[in-house]
Every structure is written in structure tokens, then in C-alpha cells.
Symmetry: C2
Subunit: 239 residues, 2 copies
């Protein structure tokens, strides 16, 4: 049985302008791989209603799970929650359960739960809240879309909350071999091994160090024995 | 006149599995911003023919410029060049001009220009080569798509080659202000300033440091005077 699939939508003008370097994609990719969910596509898009709605509608149809990061804070440029509601034709407003979480959180520090902060309690009908142990304001899940914060510490905490709730597949196993020769020398035998092992994904990742060429060969699959056999063949080909 | 637009396609299973952390997106984003080209979308996809072809066809229609990174090396998993040819219905084979570049390069080091390395001279008809000062194997431009290497040093060198050939727009100017208060306190006045300045993009990027909340407010636009005026309003609102 093939693994469940996933896609990610990174939302934020600051990533596309080069101001901010996204780190959530790399984090989510590693986490999904560890539980056997195949991340198939990531889209990075700006803070625009039409763009966000179209991406959510398209990707939630194609993939088993969709994850978004960014755009659920209290400021005017945080429009993700409203876009998700529109994408699934749901009503959205400040919801009592989310308001309660914020009220409790801000009461502790004596901070006013003003109109702006209340925006973070805007949750579409039928959505399930995702716990935010870092700064309280919750994410949410609607249909197969997990809506999470862009701030890395919060995003990572939400991923940790969500991950155990997902149906995983066979975790990807991988073995890596470093060959200190140029990819051009490696490619022939490597392609042959790839052809003989259709169940395995065999990748070649070239590097250049101290003026010398080399490559890391990564063999990935779900079956340890198949991977071991392929690695033995490669070791014999590149002693 | 609106700025020219761009999209990027990052190609590689190793990014989606979390094995490799992409750095090319962040680099290209900053470079395009500096010359007034708006990066509107990035898609990260795997090494699959159908996926690559569909993404190239869709994005080359929507955006003025498309940039790809990854998949143009000598190994079996390097399928980008063939996919680009298919996407634009062009014939592809080893081309004399690219072969010549590789032959000269490998002759210097006494390295054999074998069948695998010759794969890197596979260039679609009508494509223009993109110089690779790092490791010789060229990228290419076909229609409005720039096909470049995934290895960051090579990608960055190719971007430097390509950038002066592009039609830029008004470079984005930005001003940043740090406010040591939670976003929830900032949001109200900030939204008002954003509403009063439809030509400016005003973003709020929250941070948490030493247990305290704050945000960087970034005002972006093409007109220095408008930006200065908005910054003065913000400074007055958050003394």
C-alpha cells in the first residue's frame, strides 16, 4: 500500500521577498518522513486572498493531508483563517472555545484581550483546534487542512501536537554512501542499480570539497533487506 | 506599471524528504527583489516527469519569468532538461555547443567525457545556454524558463549570469521598525496605517526574545517619500 501523501502551503510575502528564510518546510519534511507520510509538494505563496484560497482548494483535493504555515496572528496581514473558511465555504467568527483559551492566557499576564488579539480566536465552524503550548493562540484543522503558525517555535510545537493524530505509512528507511569521485564517473553503474531496484529511490547528491568532487548516494525505501542488497552492489561497484 | 513577475520551481526528492535544506529559494528571492522583479510563487516538487512538466507548463503561462533549480546533473535521477523539452514540445539531444564546453573543461583535468557526463550536454532545441563558471555544465533558457543547477554554488553563479539579462522593475524599498510590544497591541494602529497607504505593503513579523514579545514592522513600496511618511506615522503611534 502506498504511503499517505501530504502537501504544505507556506504563506507569507516575507519569504518571497527574501526578508525571511523559511525553516518550517525543512522541519515538516523531516517529521513527515519519520512517520511514513510522503511530502509531495510545497507551495510558497503571498498574503493574497485569491491565491491562498485557490492553493488550499487545489491541494486539499489532491493530497491526503495539507499543512499551512503563516498568517494566523492578530495583524491586518494575517488572513489565512478567513481564507480557509472561504475555501471550504464555512462561516467564521470569534469562537467561544478559542476565546476562552486566549482569555485565560492573557489574564495570567494582565494583558488586555483587545480586538486585535481576538482576531486570533476567529475559527471556522466545524474546525478542530490545534493546541499552541508556546503562545496560546490555537491553530486549527478543517477537513484535511492543518492551519498552523509561521513562527518556527510555534509551528514546531503544533507539528508535534498534530503528528500523533495522523495515519502514517511505512517509515522511509535510507542508507547513505559517500563516493569520492565525480558524479560523471558514478552515473553509469548507479543508473544500472536504480533500474534493477524499482522499489527503491536512489538519489545522487554531488558535492565539492577542497577542490575535489564527490557525491552522497542515498538509497531510500521501506524494506531494509532490499536497501542492504542495493548498498552491497554499490559498494562492490565503487570499492 | 506593475513589476515583472517570477516563479521558482525547486526540483528534488531530497528537499521533500527533509534530507537537504534548500537554500536556493532564499537566495533567488533576495536577488529578484533587488532588481524589482516580484517573486510570486515557489513550488517544491519531486523528481517525477509528469509533475515537473505540469508545473513548468502552468507557471510559464502565468508568470513573466520562471526559474528552476535541480536535476540537471549526469545521473539517472536528473530528468529536468528532458522534462523542459517535453513541456515546450522541443526535440532534445546532446548539442554541439554544450558538448564543446564540457570537452574543453574535462580535457583540462584529463577526465573522460563519458556517456553519463555527456547527459549534461543534452539541451533542447532553441534553448540558450547559461554559463556555469563553477563546474562548466551549462544551464539553459527556453521560452521564459531558466533552468539552473541545484548545487547552491552553481545555482548562485547562474543567477548572477542571468540577472543582468532580465527586465527589472522599480526596486522594492523597505524600512523596518522594531516595536517591543506584543503584536496584539500593535495590530489596531498598524491596520489603520495599512488602510491609509494602499500603495505600501506593511507587514508585521512577531518575535519572542528573552521571554518578551515584539515585532518587526516592515514597510515596503517603490516610493521613498510614501514609505518615510508611513514610518513617521508609525513612530508617532508607537513612541
Amino acid at each position: 500500500m502506498p504511503n499517505p501523501t501530504a502537501a504544505m502551503i507556506v504563506i507569507g510575502d516575507e519569504i518571497l521577498s527574501g526578508r525571511t528564510r523559511d525553516s518550517n518546510m525543512h522541519h515538516l519534511a523531516g517529521q513527515l518522513t519519520s512517520v511514513g507520510i510522503d511530502l509531495k509538494e510545497v507551495r510558497v505563496i503571498g498574503d493574497e486572498h485569491g491565491t491562498i484560497i485557490a492553493a488550499v482548494q487545489a491541494m486539499s483535493k489532491i493530497y491526503d493531508n495539507v499543512f499551512t504555515s503563516g498568517g494566523i496572528g492578530p495583524t491586518h496581514d494575517d488572513i489565512t483563517a478567513d481564507c480557509i473558511a472561504t475555501a471550504f465555504d464555512k462561516h467564521i467568527d470569534v469562537r467561544d472555545d478559542a476565546r476562552e483559551i486566549l482569555a485565560t492566557h492573557y489574564a495570567k499576564s494582565g494583558t488586555e484581550l483587545n480586538e486585535a488579539r481576538l482576531r486570533m480566536a476567529r475559527i471556522p465552524d466545524d474546525a478542530t483546534l490545534i493546541d499552541n503550548p508556546v503562545s496560546a493562540a490555537p491553530g486549527f484543522k478543517l477537513e484535511n487542512v492543518h492551519v498552523m503558525a509561521g513562527v518556527p517555535a510555534v509551528f514546531e510545537a503544533m507539528v508535534a501536537t498534530v503528528l500523533p493524530t495522523l495515519t502514517g505509512g511505512a517509515p522511509l528507511i535510507s542508507a547513505t554512501m559517500r563516493i569520492d569521485r565525480g558524479e560523471g564517473d558514478i552515473a553509469g553503474p548507479l543508473g544500472q542499480v536504480a533500474k534493477e531496484n524499482p522499489n527503491l529511490s536512489i538519489g545522487s547528491y554531488p558535492f565539492q570539497k577542497d577542490g575535489k568532487y564527490g557525491a552522497h548516494i542515498v538509497v531510500r525505501g521501506n524494506n531494509q533487506e532490499e536497501i542492504d542488497a542495493a548498498m552491497r552492489t554499490l559498494q562492490a561497484a565503487f570499492p
